[in-house]
Structures are given as C-alpha cells and as structure tokens.
Symmetry: C2
Subunit: 281 residues, 2 copies
C-alpha cells in the first residue's frame, strides 16, 4: 500500500507546534506533555516572563516583547510552524508601565480594533490577526485535557452545610466577575464576597479575603460563562492549595473541565490532610 510505503521510506515528520509562553508553570506542563508525545515544541517566550524550566525543555527558544506581533508572526514563518498555543499569563501591569506600550504598527492596529483592553476583546483581535496569516491558535487544553479539574470533590473532603452554600455562591460570583472580564477569583464567607480579584492575582486576592474573613472562607475561581479555551483558562496548583491551607480556608471551588488543576496528586494530598475541599463545579 502506498501509505505504508511512504511511512517506511520517508523520514518521520514530527508534529511541530509553537508556544507563546507567558509566566507561570503552564508552559512547562505543556512542554513535558509534548515531549511524551514526541511533538516538537518551539517556544516564543515573553520578555520578562522567562522560565528556565521552559527554556530547557524547548526545542528552540525565542524571546519577544509581548507587543511585537510582527516579530511573532515573522518567527513562526521562519520556523515554518502554523500552530500556536498561548500558555501562561501576561501581566497586564506590564502594559501599564510607561515605555512598554511601544507597540509595532500591527499591534497598534489590533489595539485600535479591540473594543477595549480587557483580555477577551484584545485576545480575539490578536487571534484574528494571526489566523489571517494562516496561523491556527490551538486551545490551551491541547495535549493537557488530563490536567483539567474534574467535576465533584477532587479529594476526600466534601463541603457541607454553610461551606457548601458558600461554595455554590462563590462560584456564581466568580463567574459574574469573569463575565465582566474583570478577574477570575473571589473569596466568600457566610454569603459575603469579601474580596474580588482584578489584576493583583489569585494569591493576593485570597490573602486579602482571608484577612477580612478569617478562617473558614471559601475561594472560587471561574472561567467566563463562554470561555474561549484558546486563552486565559483558569489555573490552580499546589502553590495556591498550600496558601489556602496556611490561611485555614474551608476549601476552593473551580470550574470543572475549564480549570487546570496542576500537580493534582500533591494538591489533593495536601488538601486532604488539611480537611480542605477542592470542588469542581
């Protein structure tokens, strides 16, 4: 058969994909999965968010400013890669520093097209620009479906009574916040939202909430009601679970199937030992 003949004689063509890598552990998790599947991953790292572990795992590593859309497209063409995954966060605070908004013409065009500078309108325009160049932006969950939080309790602890009510309510409020594209995280106790996240990050929001509410609070992290899986998928990992343990939280609620629960085994072990629930909703 022709196909068999080809497979035998032609050099094996490895699948190739590019990663636009922001901060956090997500790019590293992806690169490990890619290595397992023998997929070649070229990393385009955002300046200021370089991760040594990602650099080590990448087949090639380029560094760009987050605002250099022309350069990103140029690199992908040079690498002859037409599949791109956005992974890791880009701190909006970077956008706010004077001098950092030195956009190239293309970035400027994208920016002007966006209704406003919230993540969703901005990312949609960036994706449009890339797809116009034949570059397909893959969902963040590509190769990583197994790392998404499951529905229900991830560990042995299940919320009950007041904690269960707070879990339901906090998830609803986190979804509202995400719908407005302001943030993903809220902290709730006794039916009161004590802290809502914008740009300070999950951990700082949780610290603030814990300070106001005291022990027994519930944190929730949610995706937008219509989350585009190609960017900004919520992430939670062992670092946050350890923080919740330290601050004596009752538990945490995340959106099942739309939130990465990284380092799951260790996270669940830590949560179980602290009588802390991890609930997928």
């Amino acid at each position: 058969m022709c196909a068999v003949f080809k497979e035998r004689d032609a050099p094996l063509k490895r699948e190739r994909v590019a990663v636009l890598a922001g901060g956090g552990e997500l790019p590293v998790h992806f690169l490990k999965k890619a290595a397992e599947k023998n997929i070649e991953a070229v990393v385009i790292g955002i300046k200021g968010e370089e991760n040594p572990a990602a650099i080590k795992l990448a087949s090639r590593y380029h560094k760009v400013k987050f605002s250099s859309i022309t350069k990103i497209i140029g690199l992908l063409k040079k690498e002859k890669i037409n599949k791109l995954v956005f992974l890791g966060y880009i701190r909006h605070t970077e956008v706010l520093k004077p001098g950092n908004l030195s956009l190239d013409l293309r970035a400027m065009k994208v920016l002007l097209r966006a209704a406003d500078l919230r993540t969703a309108p901005l990312m949609n325009e960036i994706i449009k620009e890339l797809e116009g160049e034949g570059i397909r932006v893959l969902p963040t969950t590509y190769l990583m479906e197994g790392l998404l939080a499951p529905a229900g309790a991830a560990g042995r602890v299940r919320p009950k009574g007041r904690a269960l009510k707070d879990a339901e309510f906090s998830f609803k409020m986190a979804s509202e916040l995400a719908r407005a594209d302001i943030g993903q995280t809220v902290v709730v106790k006794n039916g009161v939202v004590v802290a809502a996240e914008a740009q300070e990050g999950t951990d700082e929001c949780i610290r603030r909430g814990a300070k106001i509410a005291g022990p027994g609070f519930v944190a929730a992290k949610a995706a937008r009601p219509k989350q585009d899986l190609r960017y900004d998928v919520p992430v939670i990992g062992i670092k946050t679970i350890k923080l919740l343990k330290e601050l004596k939280a009752a538990g945490v609620v995340v959106q099942a199937g739309k939130t990465f629960l990284l380092d799951r085994e260790e996270a669940v072990k830590t949560a179980d030992r602290s009588r802390l629930f991890i609930l997928g909703r």
Copy 2:
C-alpha cells in the same frame, strides 16, 4: 379659615424621623439638614459604629446591635416614629466575626428569607419586615438631594483623550461590579481594571489599584443599575479626593444623582488644584 385657626392654636407638631445610623459621615450630614428644617431626628446607632458628632446632633440616641431587628422595631414603637432612614455603612466584616451572628428570632427569619447575604437581597427582606410593622423606610436621599453629585464635571478639570476613555470604561465596569452586588468601586488605567472592590472599602481598593497602575489612573464608583435609594447609595467625600490627589489619580467618576458628593466645595477646590477631575455620569 379653619386651617389658619388650627395652625395658630394647636401646638406645632414637629416632624419626627428615626435614623438607623451606621459608620461614616452620612448620618451627621443628615442630622445637620434635619436641624436646619426643624425636623426631630432620633438616632438608633449601630454598636461599634458610634459617631460622637451624630450622638451630639441627635435629639435622642439609642444603641443597638445590627442584628437586633426586634429591638429596633421596639424602639421605633416606643418613640412613636414610623419613618426610618438607613444611613452610613455597616461593615459586612462584623457579620463574619464569630459570636456576632447572635441573631434574634426575627433577624433569623429575615436571613432565611433572603436569597443570599449580599446587601440587596438582605436589605429588601429587612425593609419588608419593617414595613410589615407600619414603619416606612425613606430614601437615603431624603433631605439630602442637594448633596448628590451633579452630572458632568463638578470642578474645572474635564477628562480628555485616554483619561476620558478610562472614565467611560471604569464607570461601565463599576456598574457591572455593583450589578453583581460585589462592590461599587474599580480602578482603571489604559483600559485595564487593575482593582475591584468587595469588602475592603473604597480607599483600600484605590490604594491597591494605584500601586499596580501608578499615577494617572481613574477611579469609578457606581450604584447598582437599579439602585434602591433606601440603602447603600454610594458616597464620596473629601477624604477620598485627598487620597486620589496623594496617589496622583487622573480623576474619579461617580454616578450623577445617585452618589453623595460630600464636602463638595472643599472636594472640588482640592481636585481643581491637583488637576484632577470629578465627573458625574
């Protein structure tokens, strides 16, 4: 004429009203207005939020725990007052302290009836309970319409360019936050919501936002899209304007006709001197 005869001979009956007074300056402003109009104001002060200036201005002062609905109704009946104004804030954090949720049966009933413990569902149930006893809850703006923020620029500074865009966007985002009944305040810079308020209060939210965004940010404070004027009407005063000046804000946006702009003359003078806008939307 009969009416004239009555006015001359019957003892002049002063209008009487009760104030359920939480923290902040609003009860004091109200009591001054009441004195100007020769209206007798009995103050029921929330324990932990006592304001010496309000105590001094009240015709009589009672102290209650915020959770003692039975006692509040009892006091109003004893005082023979059937008009009540809610003024000043009750910190939700109080609700979260163990031991403070020692509700009387009536408060318990109200609490169970509320869909959740956010301000709107809770206050609606409390108002229903009071009105069932023939007590009318007056709008917070009663006697104080003159203290509401006007539409347009309150001072000489008007937002332009990027600041105007941020003013529009921040007001929209603050309204979204208020719609979800999470908080009233956001801080925006360059189209990014850097901070959103929940229970930490306006000033702390502004400090956090300023730290992330740096000078030139815009703060916005909004009412709920369908604000019930009987409770939780947003307030801004000289203290916040001075903070905005210190942190080098571009300006502040408030909801015209639904936000109290207290100490207006001093606030506008301070804002004008700092090239800071106060915009009513």
